[in-house]
């Protein structure tokens, strides 16, 4: 018989157990798979929906803000400009919406089954990645159509994507844990996502914001630095070193504090939810 693992159960909370999390990776995969499968079950268009959302939003934005309002887009064709922002934005809003409500939507599981709770917000944040990948293919199509050829620079999307996922995760830790006790969060999230869209350089470029506000802008909305980063990697706009740096610091702060808060509240989830 192999060595027996003894588990101590006591009133003090456990620290984040990464080894246990690794043991439960199969469950994480299962949750992500279930979420994706459920979303497209009994739909006629199936995965095409992943494309429809950013694509049609881009068309509306291009007509309204590009053609009518003539918002400057740093010399880039407006459809391409807004689509590159929407790509990151759709992943963020989808992940945050799912991540923040993840504990509450699985109430019965939280009350009846043990698993590291952190898997729930994690799976919520990861499940829109497939949509992102599909929408990304459309981006390449758009780029070629507008005469921008994909370069090796686009590899920088990978660290940017990672940073964005960590940000979504950090926020989801906070919001999902608060949501267990205060259902107000469920009301706040759609509203917050809508507000943040206008506070992010999706429709416009950061250069439109007066330079003295840039630091405050990035602190209040770390997604701004990330979106500018995507544009730099995809379309070769100016490299947002400073902006991205502030965003990254802010993201780390939110992620770490979120994880601590989540672990701290975790004990009471099954009793309070």
């Amino acid at each position: 018989m192999s060595e027996i693992k003894a588990t101590l159960i006591s009133p003090s909370s456990n620290s984040l157990d990464l080894r246990e999390l690794w043991q439960y990776r199969g469950l994480l995969r299962m949750f992500v798979w279930r979420d994706i499968k459920l979303r497209y079950k009994q739909t006629v268009l199936g995965l095409s929906w992943a494309v429809a959302q950013p694509l049609f939003t881009m068309i509306v934005f291009s007509l309204l803000f590009g053609a009518l309002a003539k918002i400057p887009s740093e010399g880039i064709p407006y459809p391409l400009f807004s689509y590159s922002g929407l790509l990151a934005w759709t992943l963020f809003s989808g992940g945050l919406g799912r991540g923040a409500s993840s504990l509450v939507t699985e109430t019965s599981l939280v009350q009846k089954v043990y698993f590291p709770r952190i898997i729930l917000p994690l799976s919520g944040v990861l499940s829109p990645l497939l949509d992102f990948a599909i929408a990304f293919v459309i981006l390449i199509g758009l780029m070629i159509y507008f005469g921008y050829y994909p370069s090796a620079m686009m590899l920088f999307i990978i660290p940017l994507l990672l940073l964005q996922l960590l940000f979504t995760l950090g926020l989801s830790f906070w919001l999902s844990a608060i949501n267990v006790e205060y259902r107000d969060i469920a009301q706040v999230i759609p509203f917050l996502i809508q507000l943040l869209l206008f506070a992010s350089p999706v429709i416009y470029a950061t250069s439109l914001v007066p330079a003295r506000f840039h630091t405050a802008y990035m602190i209040l909305n770390p997604m701004a630095g990330i979106i500018e980063g995507y544009r730099w990697a995809i379309l070769g706009t100016e490299r947002p070193d400073y902006l991205l740096g502030i965003s990254a610091l802010m993201i780390i702060a939110i992620l770490v504090s979120g994880a601590i808060y989540f672990k701290h509240r975790e004990k009471a989830f099954a009793d309070v939810i």
Binding site: L27, K112, V113, Y182, R183, D184, D271
Partner: protein
């Protein structure tokens, strides 16, 4: 080897904490409003217990005695307030059959979902798939969405997955009370064989017969404390005799419901101060409830005897939709029909088409006593019923 050691474990709940969740406004307003005194309930207090490897431990007790809380702590779903427990080895908890089942998914997909949740690996499930399907008997429905299953099929499939777990410690909460009699027998046999393989089993049940036949040791909980520990026969007998002396309130507040209705109280109409009634009286069960939304609702009662055998169920049969407001429905069990004893009633509410069901398992407990309906026979009658049947006597032809 001691596989589980529990040392002065306790779990405290604040009343209200388990009942409803808060909004930010509630918290803010409680800052300046006078604080209502918060009640504290110890769901468990001073529990010390050690369990040897290979033991099958039965845990019995009335509703609210803390049985489920104990299992939830041992399976790490909730935390204790004080004390500690050490669990040696891989534990799987079955607190609900079909956890994680999704109606949109097929039987096969749900086997994977549920199996993963219970801690099985993908290859392990693949290896056991055939045996799980065999055990459940769902056969050709394997690739049909579970929403098209009958409730019996659903339960059988869910239990089949659980029955194929091979943890060192198995923690089971009242899951055998589901399914038809034949399937229950099959499940009990499966549990018996898993105990024989040297697995440690913790088993909560109201089914005292199952506890007696399956367990090697038994613990009786009452109000969060261990009040008796020993051989199953001894502990079950103690539980039953204790329960016989108890008195029960005539009216039980339940405050449970769904979007359509909320059941406030369930009462026994009797002239006695407690829930006792003579055999010659009709047993009138009064259910007071509120309709929250104009709708057609149905109520259902199910009666259980002292040994937790289900005696019968009855469905309300007034079918018109009811406007919002308070209502009282009564159900009358005829006089001279039940035997002496203690009975439990569970009450369920449904919307039309049996939607949004909820059930109050212990809606009311009452006792019946002989108030002189048999004039000359004073010994025991067997069985839960003692009906006054029609007898005919005629002179036969020679």
């Amino acid at each position: 080897m001691k596989i589980i050691e529990i040392e002065s474990l306790g779990k405290k709940y604040r009343t209200g904490q388990i009942v409803s969740y808060k909004t930010v406004q509630d918290s803010l307003s409680s800052l300046w409003r006078k604080k209502e005194p918060m009640g504290i309930i110890w769901a468990l207090k001073d529990i010390s217990l050690s369990i040897e490897q290979g033991e099958v431990l039965g845990i019995i007790g009335a509703n609210g005695a803390g049985k489920s809380t104990l299992l939830k702590i041992l399976s790490k779903i909730t935390y204790p307030t004080e004390g500690k427990a050490i669990v040696r080895g891989k534990a799987s908890a079955l607190l609900e059959v079909g956890a994680g089942f999704h109606p949109e998914f097929t039987g096969r997909e749900n086997i994977y979902l549920n199996g993963t949740l219970l801690g099985m690996g993908k290859s392990e499930i693949a290896k056991k798939l055939e045996s799980i399907v065999d055990f459940s008997g769902i056969g050709e429905y394997l690739d049909t969405p579970v929403k098209r299953y009958s409730s019996g099929m659903f339960v059988r499939l869910a239990f089949a997955v659980a029955a194929h777990l091979e943890p060192e410690i198995l923690i089971i909460d009242e899951v055998l009370s589901v399914g038809d009699a034949q399937f229950q027998k099959k499940s009990l046999a499966k549990m018996e064989s898993s105990a024989k393989e040297g697995r440690t089993v913790l088993f909560v049940s109201h089914n005292l017969a199952a506890v007696k036949s399956l367990c090697s040791r038994c613990v009786l909980l009452d109000k969060g404390k261990i009040v008796k520990e020993g051989s199953p026969n001894e502990v079950v007998a103690h539980y039953l005799s204790e329960a016989g002396q108890e008195t029960f309130p005539k009216t039980v507040e339940s405050n449970m419901g769904n979007d359509l209705l909320r059941i406030n109280t369930v009462s026994l109409i009797t002239t006695e101060p407690t829930a006792r009634i003579g055999l010659s009286q009709p047993i009138i069960i009064e259910i007071a409830y509120e309709i929250i939304r104009y709708s057609q609702i149905k109520l259902n009662i199910v009666l259980f005897d002292q040994g937790e055998n289900c005696l019968f169920g009855s469905m309300s049969n007034h079918d018109r939709p009811l406007p919002v407001g308070k209502y009282i429905s009564t159900c009358i069990i005829p006089s001279n029909w039940l035997n002496e004893g203690r009975f439990r009633i569970s009450v369920a509410g449904f919307g039309a088409q049996w939607t949004e069901p909820f059930r109050i398992h212990k809606a009311l407990v009452f006792q019946t006593y002989d108030d002189g309906f048999t004039k000359d026979y004073f010994r025991e009658y067997s069985g839960p019923f003692r009906p006054q049947l029609k007898w005919n006597t005629e002179r036969g032809n020679n």
